[in-house]
Symmetry: C2
Subunit: 96 residues, 2 copies
Amino acid sequence: MKTWNDYKEHVKAIDPAIAKDIDEAEKISAIVSAMVKQRTAMGLSQRDLAAMCGIPQSSVARIESCKTTPNLSTLLNIFQHLGLQLTVTSSTPNSV
Amino acid sequence: MKTWNDYKEHVKAIDPAIAKDIDEAEKISAIVSAMVKQRTAMGLSQRDLAAMCGIPQSSVARIESCKTTPNLSTLLNIFQHLGLQLTVTSSTPNSV
DNA sequence: CATTTTGATAGCAGATATGCTATCATCTAT
DNA sequence: ATAGATGATAGCATATCTGCTATCAAAATG
């Protein structure tokens, strides 16, 4: 049986343009996943977190379910209240 | 003579709501600064980078000069071509 | 079973970012 | 001096996110 990864690699091999989209979607997904994980770990509902951030629950839900890709400002607001941090890392080692 | 930091701390002490805005602006500024630093380190002009990312130079300029706060998607696109990575870190140590 | 909580979703209006094109001042190099 | 490169900025149309409000199904709780 083929896994999702098999399918994914297949598609990426066929169309590099789509590969780029998939890569980006995966990065966003990873960030959002960390966000959801932290929220639940803190025992917060979407409504709880939303109230803390001063935004509606629908906004949190849309981001968590990947219906929209958040603005950096919105993401930082949420991260702030989750005790999460966004860090810039260099992929290329030793860039001095 | 008062430094900018003195002024900043002063304002933040007076109005916590503004303090939040300042904190966010500083985070965005830090991310953007890292981005500009990497671009120049790679010897790329805004036009070069923009072409690589498939976006207009004006978009790069607007983000670098903080005229707009980028969408996470736009930021990841640029980071991708700069060899930069966005990492989620926990501010609270040992969250297991 | 009844109630509450939770996450997803809808519609709408307003705000903001984006793409595209073009211009401008400044700097650099020939 | 002249031409080219660079970053900032403008206007416009479009796309997208966001806030607000409300509803719904499913799950949890009593």
